[in-house]
Amino acid sequence: MTVAAPERKSAPPQNESGADFRPSPLRGIDLYEQLLHPGMLRVGPCLVGIIVGFLACCIAGSVVAKTNFYENFHRFTDYTSPVTLYYPTVSQMVAMVNLQSTPNQTVVIVGGNSIFNGVGQRASEIWTDKLREQLGHDYAVFNFASCGSQPFEGAYWVAESLLARGRKVLYVTVAMPTAGGAPEGGKVYGYLYWDAHEKKFLARSPQRDALVEGHVAMMGDKERERIAELKLRMQLDRLVHFQDLWTAIGYTQIFTVWTQPTEASPFKARRLYADLQPDPAPVASRFAGSPTFDRELSTLRGYCDGFFEIQPTGWQPRRQSWTNLTTEMKGLVPDQFKRNCLVIIASNPPYSLSKITSAERGRIAAATAKSEQCWKTAGYHAVAAAAASATDKFEDEDFKDCWHLTGSGGTKMAALVAQRVATLNQELGFSDRGGNQ
């Protein structure tokens, strides 16, 4: 192979006719040549500086990954969640649990969507704080539920990380009647699966790995590329902890990404944002007066679609859909941890149910019962919130909208969950005493 350059015979075009938009001579426009101080180009010190700086960042990241910097944590808010491009890491959630609980305590990790996050409840009346009070000092309760999360996303991987390390853990989540999910999560919170997986937090489960591999193989090119990048990012983060470091800086010092909810002060540290939830409207105008009520009602009507079919005898469950859902549920969690998981099936306010047809109400009731059965068949503990308590039923005032609970609803949910958690705690042999009830 020759490496001789060809001689240039033709001069670059310098025709007079090109004078109208001829670029300036390129000399002197390299801003970097002008800006770089000679000291910045002294090779030895600069390379040492770059390497030392990089290593210092890695060490700092590794330290903050084991530090709990969330002061007085009650729940994730819009400002500490992907809604505003803030991505908590599994390491930090695990660190929080480890530093705020003792090995003797049963750790209750609360996962699921905005219902269990406590949307609709003021910071002073979050239902998991009531759950903590009811369970007493034998338990440590952590609310890692996030808006839009599937039942076994995000928070679940924190629970499994702790279970895999021998901690006494119960995972409590909420599910809509036809919700299942994918073991690797969805687009928003799936990063936490790969975070936990690549950092070896999760228990080994060849069955789940195969299932995830199968899911990824069925995805489109773009999605497969996204997952491959995500995996690589987490593999790198395992070594250099840039994600842990940046999340800590974003929470405690300065955030670097503009988002619409934070547009007033986009770069303010996220710890400085208060956990604000508007008070629910009076019951009389809460539902019918809400601009979103019609949309909520149409969602309520629609979420059983595909799970029932019309027969001569009326609407009947579509067997295949429920079988598929049960299969999906079975794959979410390795078998050995399923008995540590409690699924609460969400309910709706009587007012909303009164605004749909009796056939639609019948389908929702049937779906709720069927869903409970499916979760149980798949190996989990499950209970429908609507049917759980005969004496303390959920009323309209317990709901902020078609799904989310108010402070009073949260109190009822806390009571329901506390009772189930205490029973489960005893069944699993975690403690002779199930809290201070």
Binding site: M1, T2, V3, A4, A5, P6, E7, R8, K9, S10, P12, P13, N15, E16, S17, G18, A19, D20, F21, R22, P23, S24, L26, I29, D30, Y32, L36, M40, L41, V43, C46, L47, I50, A228, E229, L232, R233, L236, T256, V257, W258, T259, Q260, E263, P266
Partner: protein
């Protein structure tokens, strides 16, 4: 953005030390070409690589013959390939569909069977570099003898995706200098430039993108001042995004000891639209000048031809950015702006002379007019034509 993917980060972290510590130019050359091929295959996929290889082989062999007719035929082939991959759908759906709907339906079916889901990666850059090469050889330039040199000119990874558009007569000597003498100073200098580019792209441009995306739907509800701020954000966004990417490309090349041409020279301090195009995307504007404007006659055949040539050249420049009406209109908009800018002093007589004198005496006024012109133009670049038009009107009236 390819340079900020984790795959690229890992790949380049493996490749660059290997390249740097191996001092033998031949081994370096082999490593560089292998890396460029892996890079291109990874990001373009087989469907993106094959057309480029075919075009490259034809270009290389044709240039070796030094036959002007063969070179001209290859130039036509490159243009045809670019049109086929990038503009077929636009031609069928936006032009043919209005002229002959039945034929358009048939053509659309044929096209969707033949065309890949997306055009081959960086086909516009490949086509422009090949055309430049063939054109220069046809004019008597020395062709690249070594097939590996040509492969490197084609696939050099820093400039592959978004330029700068290289000239072979500058690139090949620079490549060989880099292979023989890349040193720690180059690496350090390149590193700073990559970091600077990354900051421009990831911190400034990406934040502005988030702001623009979130604000676009409520543009009409903004105050007039906020609307102009929004347009300024668009102008800054495209500058920091593109120049940041270019800085990363130039920095990465510098880390291998190779110097790529500069692409931006403080475009937003330009005093007029001619000045702007001497500072913005320099490698493209000089390409358009050398291979479209001058061959069309440039300014040699009178004022009307000069204006027409400029407008045509800029229409092509607009279309090069994307196959859509808004890009074509953006090019025409700049072509007209350039025509006015270069001729108003002559055409308007004493009024033109007065205006010219005014702008000469008050450069700030000249700058402000240029910036308003350029910034409003970015609306056409960013948004579909109708939306851009209504947004542009809202810059001057409080409500439509």
């Amino acid at each position: 953005m390819i340079f900020s993917t984790y795959w690229f980060l890992v790949a380049v972290a493996i490749f660059l030390p290997l390249y740097f510590f191996v001092k033998n130019p031949r081994v370096r050359f082999a490593a560089l070409i292998a890396f460029c091929m892996i890079f291109h295959t990874h990001f373009a996929g087989p469907a993106g690589v094959v057309p480029i290889i075919i075009l490259g082989v034809i270009t290389y062999l044709t240039a070796r013959t030094r036959n002007p007719l063969a070179c001209a035929a290859s130039i036509i082939l490159c243009v045809a390939a670019l049109c086929f991959y990038k503009y077929t759908s636009f031609f069928v759906s936006e032009l043919l569909a209005h002229i002959h709907p039945v034929l358009a339906t048939q053509a659309s079916k044929q096209a969707s069977a033949l065309l890949p889901a997306a055009p081959p990666l960086a086909i516009s850059f490949f086509a422009f570099e090949f055309i430049h090469y063939l054109y220069e050889v046809r004019r008597g330039g020395e062709p690249i003898k070594n097939v590996f040199d040509f492969a490197q000119f084609t696939l050099f990874f820093p400039s592959l995706v978004a330029g700068p558009i290289k000239r072979y007569s500058d690139f090949i000597p620079s490549l060989h200098r880099g292979l023989h003498s890349a040193n720690a100073h180059d690496v350090l200098h390149g590193f700073y430039r990559v970091m600077g580019g990354f900051f421009k792209k990831a911190v400034i441009a990406d934040n502005l993108t988030l702001y623009i995306t979130a604000t676009t739907p409520r543009f009409a509800s903004l105050s007039l001042g906020e609307r102009w701020l929004f347009v300024a954000a668009i102008a800054l966004r495209i500058y920091f995004d593109f120049s940041g990417y270019t800085d990363m490309a130039i920095g990465l090349a510098r880390m291998t000891g190779v110097r790529l041409p500069q692409n931006f020279n403080w475009p937003y301090v330009a005093q007029n639209i001619q000045d702007f195009w001497q500072r913005w995307h320099i490698s493209l504007s000089s390409w358009i000048r050398d291979y479209v404007y001058i061959p069309l006659g440039g300014s040699r055949k009178g004022l009307l031809r000069k204006v027409a040539n400029g407008i045509l050249a800029f229409a092509l420049c607009g279309l090069w950015h994307g196959a859509a009406w808004n890009f074509l209109l953006w090019g025409l908009y700049h072509g007209c702006g350039l025509a006015v800018c270069s001729s108003y002093r002559k055409v308007l007589g004493p009024v033109g002379a007065f205006m010219g004198g005014f702008f000469d005496r008050i450069p700030m006024a000249s700058w402000a007019v240029t910036m308003v012109f350029v910034s409003v133009g970015w609306l056409l670049f960013f948004y579909p034509t109708e939306q851009a038009w209504s947004m542009a009107r809202l810059l001057f009236v409080s409500a439509l």
